[in-house]
Symmetry: C2
Subunit: 344 residues, 2 copies
């Protein structure tokens, strides 16, 4: 049930109306949690976070020693790369835009096309397949186990494990570090009652965002990231470059799954240009208008677009300070990086 736009807009000047917009918003969205205490069924421990931070920034887990998680999901630039599709092993490009790592723990939909059941499967895939080509679990474990300071960190983090340096434990630690990357934003403050956190224009944009139907797909704590929808805006997406074995899109039960795409989170959208699964659009106003036209059948005016953009601005959050880890030094047993052979 939606309140008509005119009613919502007319009410913005009145305190009671602001509350009414907030009440409506709270049925669709929720503020970010202050912190995430459990992820993928395990508690987040400080040791896991520290170890996960090391792994996240360590390029030596890739075949060539060239790519860390942070290369394409860069916390310095909104948690993503600034490219349409990322450049990976052998100067290949992946088929789809790298999504932001910020608040990713709160997405229930993994990958643009639902390739993974859950977070551990997401990590498994990212560490092995496609353009990322960060190497096999065996090679990664051999690399980590060759460095005494990593062995110490795994032992400290997983004290009950006889053999703590495992791919599964590395994934667990990464999940815990990533769970810390939440970015509270003015919109969260406003949802929690701080009226001045949203400008009048942003509140008008929020009302439009709800009224026009954007919130049908972009809802929940991440304003997206939790559902799949048909999307053929730029061109019909192909399946080139996607591993055969995971084209079943197992989390999506619908017959039309082959061209369903995740509605991405709109948190930090001002930082995560270019947009859409292929990263084909760099302008946020243009992206808003394309979405209106193709997904909602609505031609948004420039004024409406500006207001919605002002609302989306309020989703730009503050990431936690991240101290670059000082990574363990290599030993004589550490596998040398592979030569940069091209794959033609």
């Amino acid at each position: 049930m939606r309140a008509p736009l005119t009613v919502l807009l007319a009410c913005l000047a009145l305190p009671a109306a602001a509350d009414s917009l907030r009440d409506h918003a709270l049925t669709l969205f929720e503020p970010l949690p202050d912190r995430i205490d459990t992820v993928a069924g395990h508690p987040v421990t400080p040791e896991q976070v520290d170890l996960g931070r090391m792994l996240y920034f360590d390029p030596r887990i890739s075949d060539t020693g060239q790519f860390a998680c942070a290369t394409c999901h860069n916390p310095a630039t909104g948690g993503d790369s600034n490219r349409d599709t990322s450049i990976g092993h052998a100067w290949q490009t992946g088929p789809q835009n790298a999504p932001t790592i910020f608040n990713a723990t709160l997405n229930s939909a993994r990958f643009w096309q639902g390739w993974a059941e859950d977070l551990p499967a997401t990590g498994d895939s990212l560490l092995q397949v496609g353009a990322e080509r960060t190497g096999t679990p065996e090679r990664m474990v051999a690399t980590l186990a060759s460095m005494p300071a990593y062995v110490d960190a795994f032992t400290r983090t997983f004290p009950d494990d006889a053999d703590p340096v495992t791919f599964a434990n590395a994934t667990t630690a990464l999940e815990s570090f990533i769970a810390t990357l939440v970015t509270p934003a003015p919109f969260d403050a406003w949802l929690k009652g701080e009226d001045s956190a949203l400008s009048p224009q942003a509140r008008e944009g929020l009302a439009l965002f709800i009224d026009k139907g954007c919130a049908t797909c972009h809802q929940g704590v991440n304003l997206g990231g939790n559902s799949y929808h048909p999307f053929r805006v730029i061109r019909t997406p192909g399946t080139e470059g996607q591993p055969e074995s995971i084209q079943c899109f197992s989390v999506v039960e619908d017959d039309g799954t082959q061209y369903l795409f995740r509605a991405g989170t709109l948190r930090n959208i001002t930082l995560t240009s270019p947009y859409f699964s292929e990263g084909s659009v760099r302008s946020l106003p243009l992206a808003i208008q394309i979405m209106g036209r193709t997904q909602l059948g609505t031609d948004l005016s420039d004024e409406e677009t500006d207001r919605i953009a002002a609302f989306l601005e309020s989703l730009e959050g503050t990431p936690p300070p991240i101290t670059l880890p000082v990574l363990p030094r290599e030993s004589a047993l550490t596998p040398a990086p592979l030569p940069p052979l091209r794959e033609e």
Copy 2:
């Protein structure tokens, strides 16, 4: 004038002798400064350091948005890459190993072959030539000037400049950030009088290091980084991939310059494998023995090698904590990254 090894070794047990080793060491080496207040003739300001840190971690100054300074000179892994030669634009590899950025301000010799007169020229070169291919100064300035938060940062940092967003100012800021990357080590504490900072084995290694002649080239504050010497250990180095225009090796006046190489700093050598200008050797003991044989005409025994390695351990320092910057967001004017075309 060198004290005979046997005398030095015999004296290690006595306090007076330890002082004598230290006195000798202080004629060859010096401890790192607590901090560097001026670099390349300009004072280091906190604003420059902050801006330089942003630039150092920003991959958007490269053509493809793929490479930041930190990609190959990674402060998380000893200030260098872990590769023999780094992978750069179009999956090319450079001809020579990426040296560590730690303490680099204190090197008087720039590049492996003295390509640059001074620090600004070093930055100019790195930002433009070779495999790094980070783009033209014009493109870099256009990128930075397109982002309001960068313009603010430049204006704050260079308040007297009418047009502060310049390539020269970016270089100045980078120099100031890099000047903060000094890594005080146990050897520095020992040089300053803390006897327990070096183990007996490390002190024996130091005596050997001096006595065998290693300190002839690896001396000064960085134990290297300030002179050029002939080096044909692995193979006669070629000049492939080196820009014609700077093959004059202008800082080296000798006729034999074409095959002179910088004696690299030994600070953090335990973190900066692989070794030598081509990164051909990953084992530190092997590198020590190769140097003994080819540069000093000495076959070092395993015991001598171990002692020297123990001394080199004491050069592993502590970098300052580095907080990953939150980089300015792009605007509609920011140039899009170039497509990842290969150069065949």
